[in-house]
Subunit: 197 residues, 4 copies
DNA sequence: GATGAATGAGTGTTCATTCAT
DNA sequence: CATGAATGAACACTCATTCAT
């Protein structure tokens, strides 16, 4: 049993979280371009100056938010990761994890996408992000070695097995299409057909 | 007395084109956020006020530029479109056209992508854009009817046959990978494997 | 006879002058530290943005204002400069010119002094300013050569013949003392006693 | 139990001194304008809030610092003051004391000068400062009575006997000139020639 | 048609100061 | 006594847009 004492969470943590949420929410609502520090502050219910206590500057705010989101996404994708299963099953699990997380936190994906297409994207170390997905890389490599997966660069494989998750989760890109379990299922079949040997 | 010869490009057309090019160039260089009207004007060698002669406001400038680019891309993709060929060959032709055009006009794709991830994206009528690709839709429909292509919504198919072109053309997304003819070839094979029946 | 047509002065010149006057006035009233761009703009009756049409940034505004003032002061000091007179008479004329100009434009001197003690002072080329006073340097050199003036570095001489003018014009430094013609006279005698051979 | 020994410097005194030094240092480094309370606090190794324990507000901090410096300077100038010597010798001693102290504590002079040219200068009682130099006034008065020194207001005398020390110590005002003992010597001769009867 | 000048509203950021702990 | 957190107001500067010419 977990007991939360009064003030167990300090004032700061609450505030930092409020800023995080506000940043994500605002970018979702009005886009990266219009996401000004003042607006984020108002959304978070704090003074603009307060943001500069927790973050060095706007870039730091956005980059840190992006990294935190990528961390969350990485953990969610790898939930119940089991190395010993067949490659296809592992990828299916990742795929399902992805869509499950999206259904709960689509705003994280939207933020990540907006961020990736902004000039700030260059300020994050890609290697740092990719490390989160290293177990997946290992599986893919094994699949290639066992001639289960096509022998093409990883970047190309990801276009068919990772990006579709992002694209399907993006309302702007597929308009009125409702993402049912059936569609998720058949899309995975397509992704697997694309990459399998 | 001023005489305009047939097909002569008037001063105005030249200016509008200069604004178009400047808009694309600036968004490519400094991103959507930093692409201010004043900077576009300077780049185009005109006064900021002049831009408001040709476009109602900044939104109009960007949306119009996007539409014009989409038009150019649509035409390029459908070059030498031949309805009578097998479905696979038609799609392969589109695929190759796409990469050829990208190699010449990557700045158009970059602009389009930035635009898609901006709040302005909601201001364009998707149907209008999609009309450009109608012949392709027809082919796909035929493919589905003939059980050559999987019977899934068009939006899902496009994730595997259209988006990969965009993704592969985006330097930011695939890092150091150099897009060779061989990669284009094998990526198409994967796309086709994904969508074929 | 000079005729001023209506609109002979363009709108801009009036505005630039208003900004110049406002800059001087504000620094006089509230000191260099408190002289913000917004306040200067309000004083000049223009928008803050307008200042950035005429000046690149705040530094440019202040440095340009300083240079313009130094120019005015230089011209005023050298009024009716006559090379052929005895050294003492030339310096006396400069001295009197200085106090005459101060009695009309003490705000220029106050601005110049404030500027000299600000970090912006380093941004002006001293040589450029000193060129305005070159004729005086020549006279001093002659005085030294003829053993009329003490043979010490020019910087030391100026402490006794130039700085006293500035100091006496500074109300803050001499408190309640009223600068009469008699004081100006006897102060020059002291200055001359200091530098003469 | 905490025991304070006689003459032991308590934590508080050390902290106040740290703030004093930090204030002087920062104004020397970045000028009066950029010397923010937060920066002074960081330089002193204390919290901004701590400064408000020792000083009512920023004005109080700066004014107090100025007064303390003026006190130090006053004491230094009057070191080994001997009423019984001839007027000229007394002033020479003051002059030499001044330059000696400048060579050790130029940062105090720089601060004092910056302060004098700030709006805060009006907030100090000049009489309070002048009292420190009262013994000098007496000597001057005696000199005037004995017809050794010119009979002009004290404010005018100080322009030739006190301000030159400040001006010569100001690197910004005399550029590349290096202040040697010889220059100090001849400058005093000039100052004396200026004021002597 | 084309422009440079002009601007109110906004940008990101720092300020002096207060307050709960 | 000492502090880090917090803030409204100000900072220098840029924005999209309008307007007189």
């Amino acid at each position: 049993m977990i007991v939360y004492f009064k003030n167990m969470r300090t004032r700061d943590e609450l505030k930092q979280e409020a800023i995080f949420e506000a940043t994500v929410k605002l970018v979702n609502q009005t886009g990266f371009v219009a996401g000004s520090v003042a607006k984020i502050a108002r959304e978070a219910g704090v003074s603009p100056a307060t943001i500069y206590i927790y973050y060095k500057n706007k870039e730091d705010l956005l980059v840190s938010t992006y990294k935190a989101i990528k961390q969350k996404i990485g953990v969610a994708f790898l939930k119940d990761f089991d190395d010993s299963l067949p490659v296809r099953d592992i990828l299916k699990k990742l795929w399902d994890n992805g869509f499950e997380y999206i259904s709960i936190h689509s705003e994280y994906f939207h933020f990540a996408e907006q961020f990736s297409n902004s000039p700030y994207a260059e300020m994050v170390d890609r290697a740092e992000i990719e490390k989160l997905f290293e177990p997946v890389f290992k599986v893919i490599e094994r699949g290639i070695a066992q001639k289960i997966i096509k022998d093409v660069p990883f970047e190309v494989l990801s276009i068919f097995i990772y990006f579709p998750i992002m694209t399907l989760s993006n309302k702007r890109l597929h308009g009125d299409l409702i993402i049912t379990d059936e569609i998720i299922e058949s899309a995975f079949k397509m992704a697997w057909d694309a990459i399998r040997y």
